[in-house]
C-alpha cells in the first residue's frame, strides 16, 4: 500500500519537475514547482517528519513561490521566444544526465552508513517532532541558529538597497 502511494507521489513529483523545465510560460513553471513542493511535503510526512512538511508548505509553497509569482507578474515576463541553440541544450542535458548517472552509481556502490542517533518512530509519536527539532536547534545548533538571524538581516538590507529607485 505504502509503495503504491510512494510510486504515485514520485511520478507526480518527477512529471511536475519536468514541466518546470519544459514550460514556455514562467507562470506555468512556477505552478508546476508548487506541485513539486507539495509532493516533497508528502514525502516528508512519509518519512515521519511532519514539522518539516508543514515548514515546506508554509515557507516554500507559501512564501517563496508567492514572491516569485509576484515578481513574474511585476516584470510582465514575455513567453520565451528566442530559444537557445540546440548545442547548448544538448550539452546541458548531457551534463544533467551525467550527474544523474553519477549519483545513481554512487547510490549502488556506497553504503548507507553514518552517525546513528537515537530518534525512533515511537519517540517522534510520544515526544513530538517539533520538540525534538527544537531541542536540537537550541542546544547543539545554537550558534548556527544565531548566525542565521544575521544572514536574514543582511538579506533584508540587501533586498531593500537593491530595489531602490536608483542603483
Amino acid at each position: 500500500m505504502e509503495s503504491i502511494f510512494f510510486l504515485i507521489v514520485a511520478a507526480v513529483a518527477v512529471i511536475s519537475s519536468i514541466l518546470v523545465v519544459t514550460c514556455k510560460n514562467p507562470i506555468n513553471s512556477a505552478l508546476s514547482l508548487v506541485m513539486t513542493f507539495f509532493c516533497l511535503a508528502t514525502f516528508y510526512v512519509m518519512l515521519d517528519a511532519p514539522f518539516m512538511a508543514a515548514t515546506q508548505v508554509i515557507v516554500y509553497a507559501g512564501a517563496i513561490m508567492v514572491l516569485i509569482i509576484f515578481v513574474i507578474m511585476l516584470l510582465n515576463v514575455r513567453v520565451e521566444t528566442v530559444k537557445r541553440g540546440t548545442h547548448a541544450v544538448m550539452a546541458g542535458s548531457a551534463i544533467g544526465l551525467f550527474i544523474l548517472f553519477q549519483t545513481v552509481w554512487f547510490l549502488m556502490k556506497g553504503s548507507m552508513t553514518g552517525k546513528v542517533g537515537e530518534m525512533t518512530k515511537e519517540q517522534i509519536i510520544s515526544v513530538g517532532h517539533v520538540e525534538l527539532i527544537g531541542k536540537a536547534i537550541f542546544t547543539d545548533f545554537l550558534l548556527p541558529f544565531e548566525v542565521t538571524s544575521v544572514l536574514l538581516l543582511a538579506a533584508i538590507v540587501g533586498a531593500v538597497i537593491l530595489a531602490k529607485k536608483k542603483i
Partner: protein, 100 residues
C-alpha cells in the same frame, strides 16, 4: 517505512532535472526556480538519511537550507528587478558585461 534508496533515487532525478533546467533555460526567473528545485532535492536526501539513521541533525540542516533559500529568494528577486529596470529584459544572455 520504505527503503531509503527509493527516496534517494527520486532525489537524484529531481536534482538532475534542476541541473538541466539551470543549464538550458534563458529566463533568469526560471533558472532561479530550477535552483530551488535542486535545493529541495538535497533537502529530501537530508530527511531520508535523517530518518534512516535515526539522527535528527539532518532535519536541522534542512531548516537552515530553507532559511538560506528564503534569503536567497529575497536578494535574487531584488537583483532581477534591478537588472530589469536597467535592461528591460531578464534574459541571461543580456548579462554579458564581463564577457570577453
Amino acid at each position: 517505512m520504505l527503503a531509503i534508496e527509493n527516496y534517494l533515487i527520486v532525489s537524484a532525478i529531481l536534482f538532475a532535472i534542476g541541473t538541466i533546467g539551470v543549464l538550458t533555460k534563458r529566463n533568469a526567473i526560471v533558472i532561479f526556480m530550477c535552483i530551488e528545485l535542486m535545493l529541495n532535492a538535497v533537502n529530501l536526501t537530508f530527511i531520508a538519511f535523517s530518518r534512516h539513521l535515526g539522527n535528527i541533525d539532518g532535519q536541522v540542516f534542512v531548516f537552515f537550507v530553507m532559511t538560506v533559500a528564503a534569503a536567497e529568494a529575497a536578494v535574487g528577486l531584488a537583483l532581477m528587478i534591478a537588472f530589469f529596470k536597467n535592461r528591460e529584459s531578464i534574459d541571461v544572455e543580456d548579462i554579458n558585461l564581463l564577457k570577453l
